[in-house]
Amino acid sequence: MLPDTLTMSIQLTLAARYLWGRKLRTLLTTLAIIFGVLVIFGMNILLPTMLSAFQTSLLNASGQVDVLITHKTGETFAPRLINRIQDIRGVRAVSGSLERTINIPANFYRSGTVGAVSLIGIEPRAAQQIRDYTLAQGRFLQNNDTNVAVITGALADTLKLKLGDDLTLPTVQGAVKLKIIGIRQTLTMPGNEPVWVTLSEAQKLLNLPNRINTIEVKLDTLDAAQRDAITNAIAETAGDDYQLGGLASGSEFLASLQSAQLAFNGLGFLALFMGGFIIFNTFRTVVAERRHDIGMLRAIGASRRTIIGLILVEGILQGVLGTAIGIGLGYLAGAGIVAAVSGLFQDFLHITLGAPVIEPMLLVVTIVLGVGVTLFSGLMPALSASRVPPLEALRPSVAQVETVRRISKATIAGILLIVFAGASLFTHNISIVALGGLCFLIGLVLLAPALVKPIARVFGGLVAVVFAREGTADLARGNLTRQPSRAAITASATMIGLAILVAAVGVLMSLRGGIDNVLEKSLGSDYLLLPPALGTWGSDLGADENLANRLRAVYGVRAVSTTRFAATSVGDKQVNLLGIDPETFPQVSGLNFSEGDSRTAFEQLAQGRAIILNGVGAAQYRLHAGDSVKLASPEGEQTYQVVGVANDFINTKISTAYISQANLKRDFHKTEDVLIQIDLAPNADVAQVEARFQEIVARYPQFKLISGSAYVQEMRQTFNAAFSFYYILLGFLALPSLIAILNTLAIGVIERTREIGMLRAIGATRRQVRRTILAEAILLAATGTAFGILAGLYLGYVIVLGIGASGMFPLEYSFPFAGALAAVAVGLLFGVIAALIPARQAAQMDIIHALRYE
Amino acid sequence: MSVRHAVLGLLAQRPRHGYELRAAFEAFVGGRENWEVNPAQIYATLTRLEESGLVREHGMAQASGPEKRIYSITRQGKDALREWFSTAIEREHQRDEFFIKLMLCLATGQADPYKLIQTQRAKLYQDLHNITVQRTRANPQAELARILLYDKAIMYLEADLRWMDLVQARLDEIMRQPMPEPDLKPRGRPRKMQD
């Protein structure tokens, strides 16, 4: 039997030579892989980088700690657990602390810019048993200290503070001043600068009396087995409500990041899918082109496996090369984006991003995907190559013309799939409709060869009008219809690219319509008091009831509604819990209900443990009005009754739920107002009221006062910016289909070298040859575009229907006229651009050389 | 073609005696095996040429041994040679012995025509093979004139072989057609056209 490892060398040599021999084609094919890998790899670097920034930001103060205990929800808890852990054998020291990120409003300090600080309340004696607090200057905290803080050298430098100066911090009680008694070494970890105060001080400043949110434990031993045993004992003592390890807060932002990552991954997979398509097409051509060579190799003793190997090795070479370059470029792209957004992160989210993080798993998955897709795409052509009989070597080369069966199995399968897709629309079952969408795409790909001929005829007529009386359009049309499956594959690549474009535009436009709707309703109040970071409630510092009460007292105010926040979890998934006042909230703001109705839902919220879920939350847990849900709270699990499913503007992307403020206080001990909405009486003196508001808010620098209409306007602008970002991404997605068209055309020209030589020899001018190629490209592009728009409209509709049906977000389909027009423009433009190089090449071809071309 | 023009040509080169003429001719054709000319033929030719006044004889005593007669070309001789150079050589392409053999075989039915073709073809191939062997042995640096002659023979043989294929391919049809009959002149009155 053939020793395959030994024949590898000849396969490698051949593959490398063939690839080198067709540089342009190799480049184009490899580019397709590079692009897919780039998107997947680059985008997946982003999330872990952000994640690690979060973790370091949350944990940087903890340094070397053996065990870290936090509540599952990330919320505060009573310190009695400390004593129970103290009693466990093998525990040397335990220290409870209260840590909180405090976002600093812009321009809060005149002497320097700080985005956020971590306020850490510790018991000085216990804390010093757990870690080393060596100071550069001054002294450390003592148990009975008040109004004093220890800060880092870096913070001192930034704010130009010296020992003995006062540090001003925004708190729930308004701004407070802390005297600096010690300065610690600058920390090297990225993250927020810590400010250490005594635990009782922190509890006072944060209005959380007798509560902590972190317990740090130091163990007796360094023996790994014993440490594990002790850690297990601690976990048992703490119970299910607590977790060992890092803090879980900030996860609401992660959820939003994850959904973005999902979208990017979708993009990357589509790009890889198209890459696979291009590779499949290339190898099909390669096999057709080399039938002679393959036949000869078979004749002189190459086994079928050797031939399969030969084609696959070529695929692997390109796959490995493309993946390697893709990973390199992906890293650069990821690092570039990290660098570009780190400023934004610093300013808006108060998180310092570190160096790009590459998870080993991502590397493995990316390589497997990149090389795998190439291999998989090369497999079918390789198999068909292995079936080339050795006799092929003895036959003179004859241009292959596909025998077109009138109705092939593929055509029938395609029709059936599309019929199924159409029928699925009537089921209103989201999973069947989604399956239908996939079937529709596959069906179109299968049907494409049969449709190429009539479509080429129709567009050929149009092109003939443009290139009148030269016969070039006829020739181009002939070229397409002679090999319908090759043309169909190229057109399919264009189709998929454009379908995604049109579908995405459709979805985006529908989304915008929906968002506008919700925006008006949920943020329609006259005035808003916004925290620095909207949406990531956990890091926002709110205000105590005094602020809302003062605002209510202003003459001319009709109603004030406040929103409070607590983190909780259902099962192991995080949910943002918002506390509202069921009475005032509907007066000022509102929710878009998809289940239940506004009036009864808010009434029920006021009585007992009732909850309103948003669309994402309801979809995630498959909950409906009338179901009950168990929320994790610092007081243990609490059962709430679902009374409605509804969305507001800010929290649409994140799993969110609404309960009454009374329940939030009872179960989660939270009374901080993080968002305040104000409606004025109809006859109020706006200027005077606003002036009064400014006065009150000045004491709470963490809030920003903004009029509702201005805010809605601002949000629309933000969305416009976000949408244009999406449009740019879509443009990137269209790039592989440009490569696909370019590739097929280039291959077409190579395949027909002899024919073009003949045309030139019998008197076709360069111009005519160029036009033939150009006409062919336009025909291909037009075909792909026609299919693409059709498929895109359908897909977009299915997705909008799906989102609507899932109840995540109320949507109505908007027909993407702009998207369709853009697709036509992009499709035809690509056709022409893609044709320019091959057309030039064909026209410049040396006649003698072309005629001799084997 | 006769030896006559060869002798004239060789004498135009320079005066020679009979023996010398024979040797020179044989050198040209590449050996006695290829084209043998006996001394009698040479001398008979010389005598005839002398009678026509195309060559002239000079007696010349040899220092030792028998006396040798030296011949040289005359003015008329040169004219005759020029005449020969300026005219094309006649060939009788239609005269073919194999053809007669085949026709007689068909006419008499005394032999298998296919066997005839086979035998002839085998012979032609054997000849072709032998000449090919010779040709590959010849040194193209020194014996190009000879190779030229081999090539001519090869080409003739090739033509004959191709013709043999043609004969074989058409034999069935030929056998179906009537045998060529002599076109005898009708005796007596010519037949009337009416009827």
Binding site: T13, R298, R304, P389 | Q118, N130, V133, K152, A169
Partner: protein
């Protein structure tokens, strides 16, 4: 025992009314070191015979025996292995891989057999020198003349030291001078290097290089001529006769 032998070799293409009998109970024997030319009009089955001898195609009935072993019983893999080790092919269109140079092309069969690259190339170089291409070892096919390309193909056919070389119209794509050189080289393959050579040709001049000529017509052998190489004297005599014939 003959190197190659066929027994009632029959090949029918298609079936039913459209069936075409390409070969009809053909029996041939080819000895080691023998140079056999197969001739006949187009469609006589000469290429089919060659394909069957080389295991490129399977007969409808009958057998091909190489060194006494029947090809019919071999699996595709075994047949492939046999082609690799026992048979060398020379094609009309040379069929060299355009992206490989002369040495690499010639080395292909042994490399496919798992011989390491440097050893394979040494063998290939050796054969290329024997076929007179010592100066063009690293030329690519497009840098070689037709005759030179066919020499590379012959070196490739010989590199695995096969017992049988099959040539399908090896001179069909060459001018007459190059054709003669290639035919002479094939004669050398048989005469000097001891391989059996079976060559399909329609050119009598090329066939005359062989030891034996088999004539096929309508799938059957109609004639067979054994040619004897006599000494020079005989040849010169023939030449003399030719001259007379031309007179």
């Amino acid at each position: 025992m003959s190197l190659v032998q066929t027994q009632d070799l029959t090949k029918i293409y298609g079936s039913g009314e459209t069936a075409v009998t390409a070969l009809d109970r053909v029996n041939v024997k080819i000895d080691a070191g023998e140079f056999v030319a197969v001739m006949g009009p187009s469609g006589c089955g000469k290429s089919t015979l060659l394909h069957l001898l080389g295991g490129l195609d399977r007969p409808t009935s009958g057998e091909v025996l190489i060194e006494g072993a029947s090809l019919g019983k071999l699996s595709d893999d075994k047949l492939t292995e046999l082609r690799r080790r026992k048979i060398g092919f020379v094609f009309q269109f040379f069929n060299l891989i355009p992206v490989l140079d002369a040495v690499e092309n010639a080395a292909l069969p042994v490399m496919l057999d798992g011989v390491n690259a440097s050893k394979a190339k040494t063998q290939a170089r050796d054969w290329l020198e024997r076929v007179g291409l010592q100066n063009r070892l690293h030329s690519r096919p497009d840098q070689l003349s037709g005759g030179q390309q066919q020499r590379v193909a012959i070196a490739r056919a010989l590199v695995a030291e096969p017992a049988l070389v099959l040539a399908d119209e090896p001179t069909g794509n060459l001018d007459s001078r190059a054709a003669d050189e290639i035919a002479g080289l094939l004669r050398q393959v048989a005469e000097a290097w001891g391989r059996s050579v079976v060559m399909v040709t329609h050119d009598p001049r090329i066939a005359a290089y062989a030891d034996r000529i088999i004539f096929l017509k309508d799938g059957t052998i109609v004639d067979e001529t054994r040619l004897h190489t006599k000494d020079g004297q005989d040849a010169e005599m023939v030449l003399g006769k030719m001259k007379v014939l031309a007179e």
